[in-house]
């Protein structure tokens, strides 16, 4: 006890040493705190890309492929998973687009944060909540199994999920219009498993999904209101809940452009035995262009 008292007396006494210590302390502390917070903020601010899609599409396989270079065997996901990956040197990020091909000055390839979400019907809230979170989401990769799309049930499931996502993006855009609008989030539709014999080609995947989205849009507009309406938001007007161009007969992905959603479609295959790395390449260049 006596020691503590001594120490306290010294700390409050007008000696040079006490003043010096206090001075050093009070000067360095803000700097340290600043660095600490700054470091944390930077670590969080990696450009984030979200992997979405119905279960079994190959999201997790794609995640491991993009992050480690080889696709792991996978099973149904129960929890989201993040990974940091660095753009391969062959891909040029958008910020590098004016750089000369011959510029040999060292440039570090940017890193991105990939977030894989479970695709099972009961676990999609992970995807929706990370989509509405304030994190800097730069793009969505919607991964579908092109072989499953040839069955009616598979097609409907993929289209309904995609519909929910697109409608969310559209609402986000319309709501953000008044204030400083949120950044537009582009969507890449990855028609995965192109190596499978029964898979649909990319063009067909696109047109089938557009057609099915049109049907989903139609029944959703006529369906029952859900119980949450009137509680959360009161925009029960039809136009706000109509995906794409209001009143259009058929749905086209290009209609989403006016709502600030760019949609690209690429084919892909995560277990192309080395001879077909092109699929991932397309994903990479899309990611690079959207960082």
């Amino acid at each position: 006890m006596a020691k503590i008292e001594d120490w306290l007396t010294w700390a409050l006494s007008p000696t040079i040493s006490a003043i010096l210590v206090t001075l050093i302390f009070s000067l360095t502390l803000p700097v340290l705190i600043h660095y600490y917070l700054y470091k944390r903020a930077v670590a969080r601010e990696l450009p984030t890309f979200l992997l979405l899609g119905p279960s079994g599409g190959g999201k997790t396989a794609l995640l491991t492929l993009l992050a480690t270079g080889t696709a792991s065997p996978t099973h149904i996901s129960q929890a989201p998973q993040t990974a940091i990956c660095q753009l391969p040197s062959t891909t040029r990020a958008s910020e590098d687009q004016y750089r000369s091909e011959n510029d040999t000055s060292s440039r570090s390839q940017p890193s991105i944060l990939l977030l894989d979400t479970p695709g099972h019907g009961k676990l999609r809230h992970h995807a929706f909540s990370s989509l509405t979170s304030p994190a800097a989401i730069k793009g969505l990769l919607f991964v579908v199994d092109s072989a499953v799309l040839s069955s009616a049930a598979g097609l409907t499931e993929a289209a309904e999920y995609l519909y929910d996502i697109l409608l969310l993006l559209q609402k986000r855009h319309t709501q953000g219009k008044t204030s400083k609008g949120p950044q537009a989030i582009p969507v890449l539709l990855v028609a995965n498993k192109q190596d499978v014999f029964t898979s649909l080609p990319v063009g067909l995947v696109k047109s089938k999904l557009e057609e099915e989205l049109g049907k989903v849009r139609l029944t959703r507009s006529k369906g029952l209101l859900d119980s949450g309406i009137g509680v959360e938001d009161d925009d029960t007007d039809e136009e706000g809940n109509w995906l794409g161009e209001y009143g259009a007969k058929t749905f086209k992905f290009s209609q989403m452009r006016e709502h600030g959603v760019e949609i690209d479609v690429v084919g892909g295959s995560t277990n192309g035995e080395g001879e077909d790395p092109g699929s991932v390449h397309e994903c990479w260049s899309w990611i690079g262009a959207n960082i």
């Binding site: 792991s72 065997p73 993040t82 990974a83």
Partner: protein, 688 residues
């Protein structure tokens, strides 16, 4: 014998696996789907035994390590009774999390380099397999397919090639010092045939051991082990011959060679076991004459190597033995000890200690980063449970929800600046969301239009069941109204041939609906009734036949279907009235509805669980299997939701009891007062 063993993360990535026979990936997929996500299989009270799940002809047993997010799954034929698998799971969990847990806890970790795990696992199986089911033929069978799927661990694959260009974030784990000896074993079973060194791994075992020795010379035990390993390596130049022969046979394309090698591998273990005196179960498998016949050179090398190999092998095994025994013992004790430790802590520590610990725990509670123990969770969970009960959730459901939250959070760390209460709330919100969200959403309009159009068009049949007075007829009318608005032709069937006045009540509804639809110029609706006293099942069947108009009634020849949707009302019945309830089975089979909806009241209390269960179990098909993938019914309509305010707990109770989703909510007296369920809305109300 085991068919497969896999170690996967909750995010679905297989960290390590061993397939002894070809196994379709969807066996484990359905385990994850049915047990972990949809929770179809309610885990019983038996906590001490690892739970099991049956799929096709396989039995799956699993255990999980929640803190690192791992699931360990063992797969074997249901015909076999492998009781030792449970021990294997516990041991693997203990050893694997010890070896790789540190790395797995880091964020963004996708894979770990599990190359050294292979021999460890083999040794574990050898140690724990009580041999009851092991036959020579089994081991022989199992080897071929293993060869067919060479990258049994994908991470192991990595080790052979330089890392890919997009630099992976995970680092190759530094080989733990205490594994020095085991690493030797890896190289001897895993190495490439020619002694060309791997580029990414230390070339020779001796090198590895010494490297570790210099790097981590610290703790006595570890260094002792590695020193021992080192001496072994330097003293036995013959071991390299051992290595290459093993490697050659392993990678050799000839099937014979493979078999021979496998046997040698086991025998090698067996010999070690003999010395140990523990593993004598495998004594009959010691190299017999036929081994020698078939693979002369290999067995030659073996016999010459046995001495040194035994020395090393014994060491590995003994080490492993201690650790495994400890793990098994602790896993057995765990259930009994948890209750006692709490008391001990409270009494054993001084007054000052408790005060400071309480202070830090308070601090931790505010700042986060607290590891949750059972006692931390107990009180807030109790509060959560009472909260749920107040929301009219049945006790059974509330208890189970709290239990699953507790299992989820136990030994977890709270996030930064998050209190225990907030953590529990968050976890409970997730659990409720997962429970209430249907696996696939119901789009009634699409279902109806796809059934009633195209080739094979037929009327869509919906029937409504429920106990007395919950509002079956009212909700049926609401659905009819909804369908009419979408221009479908609806036939309402009076299937309640029992309660007097039931038919008249429906007639009034139909008259109203008819007037409404005429005014708006939408679909048409009519009543189909056969008076009282008839068998409801037959009435329903006749009604469907009438709507289909298969044999073409005279006046409507060639017009095809008369109605798009057949809506069948049924008699209300007490769920504990077995005679009336069993008539539902016949009804389900004769009318064969596309959808069976049960109406439940938002007002009822605990009774709802029994109601839902009893109704669901009546809907079996002729083969005795429950409809709709074994859940019986297709959805609940919860009526009178407008009268209960926030107390929407009935939703949870009914879904919990049966796994059947809530599809519609009745929210008022008008025909238009039918709503789909918005899960977020319901969860908000429950957590308020």
């Amino acid at each position: 014998m085991l068919d497969a063993f896999e170690i996967l993360t909750t995010s679905g990535i297989v960290l390590w696996r061993r397939h002894y026979a070809p196994l379709s990936s969807n066996v484990i997929d359905s385990l994850v789907r049915d047990v972990f996500i949809e929770e179809k299989q309610k885990s019983g009270g038996a906590e001490n035994s690892a739970p099991s799940y049956k799929k096709d002809r396989y039995t799956l047993r699993w255990t999980s390590a929640k803190d690192v997010g791992l699931v360990f799954v063992a797969v074997y034929r249901s015909l076999l009774h492998l009781s030792w698998v449970e021990n294997l799971l516990a041991a693997v969990r203990g050893l694997f999390t010890k070896a790789y847990g540190q790395e797995l806890r880091k964020p963004h970790t996708l894979k770990v380099d599990t190359a050294q795990w292979n021999p460890m696992f083999d040794a574990l199986v050898n140690r724990l397999d009580t041999g009851s089911t092991r036959r020579q033929s089994d081991t022989l069978d199992s080897e071929g397919p293993t060869e067919l799927t060479p990258p049994s661990s994908s991470a192991g694959d990595d080790a052979h090639e330089p890392p890919p260009v997009p630099a992976p974030l995970f680092k190759k784990p530094a080989i733990p010092a205490k594994k020095g000896v085991v690493v030797d074993d890896t190289t001897s079973t895993d190495a490439t045939p020619v002694p060309t060194p791997d580029t990414s791994r230390p070339a020779t075992p001796g090198h590895a051991a010494s490297h570790i020795l210099t790097a981590k010379g610290g703790p006595g035990k570890a260094s002792r082990r590695s020193r021992k390993g080192q001496t072994f390596n330097t003293s036995a130049p013959a071991s390299s011959g051992d290595e290459s022969s093993a490697g050659r046979t392993l990678k050799g394309s000839g099937k014979n060679a493979t078999k021979g090698k496998r046997r040698w591998d086991i025998d090698g273990m067996a010999v070690e076991g003999d010395d140990d005196g523990v593993l004598d179960y495998s004594a009959p498998a010691t190299p017999g004459p036929d081994t020698a016949d078939r693979e002369l050179d290999v067995s030659d090398v073996n016999t010459s190597q046995m001495g040194s190999h035994t020395g090393k092998g014994q060491f590995v095994l003994k080490d492993l033995d201690d650790e495994v025994d400890a793990i098994l013992a602790s896993s057995k004790q765990q259930s009994t000890s948890t209750t006692t430790t709490n008391g001990e802590i409270a009494t054993g520590s001084g007054l000052l200690n408790t005060a400071t610990s309480r202070l830090t725990s308070l601090f931790r509670n505010v700042v986060g980063g607290k590891t949750l123990s059972k006692s931390d969770l107990q009180q807030p969970l109790q509060q959560m449970q009472t909260h749920l009960l107040e929301k009219n959730v049945a006790r059974e459901a509330a208890e189970r929800l709290c239990q699953s939250v507790e299992i989820n959070l136990l030994d977890q760390k709270t996030a930064d600046f998050t209190s225990i209460d907030a953590t529990i709330r968050d976890s409970m919100t997730k659990a409720l969301t997962r429970m209430l969200t249907p696996t696939s959403s119901l789009d009634l309009l699409r279902d109806v239009s796809s059934t009633t159009s195209g080739p094979g068009a037929r009327p869509y049949v919906i029937s409504i069941v429920g106990v007395n007075g919950v509002g079956k007829s009212t909700n049926l009318s609401k659905i009819a109204f909804f369908l009419l608005q979408n221009r479908f032709r609806v036939l309402v069937v009076a299937g309640d041939t029992f309660r007097c006045g039931a038919v008249e009540q429906l007639r009034v509804h139909v008259r109203n609906l008819s007037a409404l639809s005429q005014r708006e110029g939408v679909g048409k609706v009519e009543l189909f009734e056969k008076g009282y006293g008839k068998d409801a099942a037959t009435v329903a069947r006749d009604a469907v036949a009438f709507a289909t108009n298969r044999d073409g009634h005279a006046q409507v020849q060639g017009q095809g279907m008369l109605y798009d949707v057949v809506l069948i009302d049924t008699a209300g019945r007490r769920h504990n009235d077995t005679r009336l309830m069993s008539s539902l089975t016949k009804f389900g089979q004769l009318a064969n509805p596309d959808k069976v909806f049960m109406v439940g009241e938002a007002l009822v209390g605990t009774d709802s669980v029994a109601q839902a269960r009893n109704f669901a179990k009546e809907f079996v098909d002729t083969k005795g299997k429950l409809r709709n993938n074994g859940v019986g019914m297709d959805g609940f309509i919860i009526s009178k939701c407008d009268t209960v305010g926030d107390m929407v707990g009935t939703l949870v109770s009914m879904v919990h009891a049966t796994g059947i989703p809530v599809v519609f909510l009745g929210v008022g007296q008008h025909y238009g007062d039918l709503r789909g369920l918005n899960v977020g809305w319901a969860v908000d109300k429950l957590m308020k």
